[in-house]
Symmetry: C2
Subunit: 278 residues, 2 copies
């Protein structure tokens, strides 16, 4: 196949490495000429261009840009595409992207490869980044069966765990295990920062160890990522936060009532259930 | 010095190794004869006994049992002690322990070595567990200066970072960075468990990765530890939970209002401030 990849960062570059290793021809597009040169010299792509028109004759295009620009990129890309080209993306929220792109391009199918690292850019890209990780495709009732079949066949070769679900189900599931953790972890840091006694703050900072480090990591991570989650998955993030607030209230009430048997039951349940998520 | 150590688990056993290596004579006490034999054969102690009366003539006694039994152990130990013996403990909450033991033994000084691992028991004990980690002593206005000086000299030799603060300041500081993280992390798991759609639950479990793993780790850990924190540091844990709820409400309001500039400011702040705790 001839595969176009727009956005040659961690995800786009890693897809390029894997698909090229599988024998496909990779046409990369980046805004920056340096990135195009790097992608070529690293061997990630067969051709690289700053021009979306270079993707006029490809079988599949992966938009691998930040979620915030997917719709603008798609609008500029679509006039160049031939009608049977499949269009997909790798955004970590799906409802808003799918709602916007489906009317623009009938052969659009949303996707979300759940792999990543703290690093970004073409130099962070690596072969087999997706192997063993979930890759979610989000068909709707409008998705043509052949588009879904072709995409399943293509990304299935990445040795990922392939899932199909609706965009809404995807967004609700990732709200629980990715977006809510980001928000509640940020909330921990802002709560600690509310301490007004400088002696206590100094000691809290000195005493913090692995428990604080782990629970605060994502909340102290990339701010743009958190803003993207909240903006593009607003409804499901709010839904998870409302439920989370109930959980915090439940814990608070148990402790206010010194109901230690209830606390033990609750903490035994969290201990028992957590491994099912790992 | 002759040092008594009651409770030969991870902390007691590790203190025994270090103090013995520093030339002190270590008298261990455990409820279980097997633990006494193990401590002797591992070389952690010079003598081991199931009888608190064996500590009649020591300079310092460390109570290294769970917080819940410190007061009962102290009450049974005190009739055997000579008046100049210093009594200390290693409990991770201090207000309740100090309030109970100070009237029973004038030469009591609370302590909290902040080191540990997931493992427990004498076989998990190790030399130099405390090196590089905080060790907090919690004197009050009733603490004799010579008791504080002797204890500072003794535990300072563990190459730990030594801190003095009041029991209240200690308990407030550890509520922020240890006890609140435990509760908010448990709340994440219970919130996720509230999902009633089996498809979403199955996918959430399949999609969970490092962000969920880290934020849920302490909440899915030892339930007894969480119950101990809540029971013996109830007031400060509640204080931190009330503040945390305000932080969650603030985040929720920002997202409800789609106030993305405010969210960016907040998440930039958490990113900037977190490293001060690490």
């Amino acid at each position: 196949m001839r595969i176009g990849i727009i956005g040659l960062g961690l995800i786009g570059g890693s897809l390029a490495y894997d698909f090229r290793a599988l024998g496909h021809t990779i046409l990369g597009v980046s805004r920056q000429s340096q990135t195009c040169q790097d992608a070529l010299s690293l061997g990630a792509v067969d051709q690289a261009s700053q021009d979306l028109a270079s993707l006029a004759h490809v079988d599949v295009v992966f938009i691998c840009t930040p979620v915030s620009v997917i719709d603008a990129i798609a609008a500029r890309l679509i006039p160049h595409l031939t009608p049977d080209t499949i269009l997909t993306d790798v955004g970590s929220v799906k409802g808003s992207v799918v709602n916007t792109l489906t009317p623009l391009w009938p052969r659009f199918l949303g996707g979300h490869p759940m792999a990543g690292s703290e690093d970004t850019g073409i130099h962070a890209a690596q072969a087999r980044l997706f192997a063993g990780n979930p890759y979610i495709l989000t068909p709707t009732e409008k998705t043509s069966p052949d588009v879904l079949a072709i995409m399943r066949g293509l990304v299935g070769k990445l040795d990922c765990h392939l899932y199909d679900c609706s965009p809404t189900v995807h967004d609700r599931a990732v709200a629980w295990i990715s977006h809510l953790p980001k928000m509640m972890s940020a909330g921990l840091i802002t709560a600690c920062l509310s301490e007004t006694d400088p002696e206590i703050m100094k000691l809290a900072q000195a005493f913090a160890s692995s428990g604080f480090r782990d629970t605060s990591r994502v909340g102290g991570g990339n701010p743009e990522l958190g803003c993207m989650m909240a903006k593009y998955n607003r409804e499901e993030v709010l839904r998870s936060l409302y439920q989370y607030r109930q959980s915090i209230d439940q814990l608070t009430n148990i402790i206010e009532n010194s109901d230690w048997p209830a606390l033990e039951i609750l903490l035994n349940q969290t201990q028992t259930e957590r491994p099912k998520f790992l």
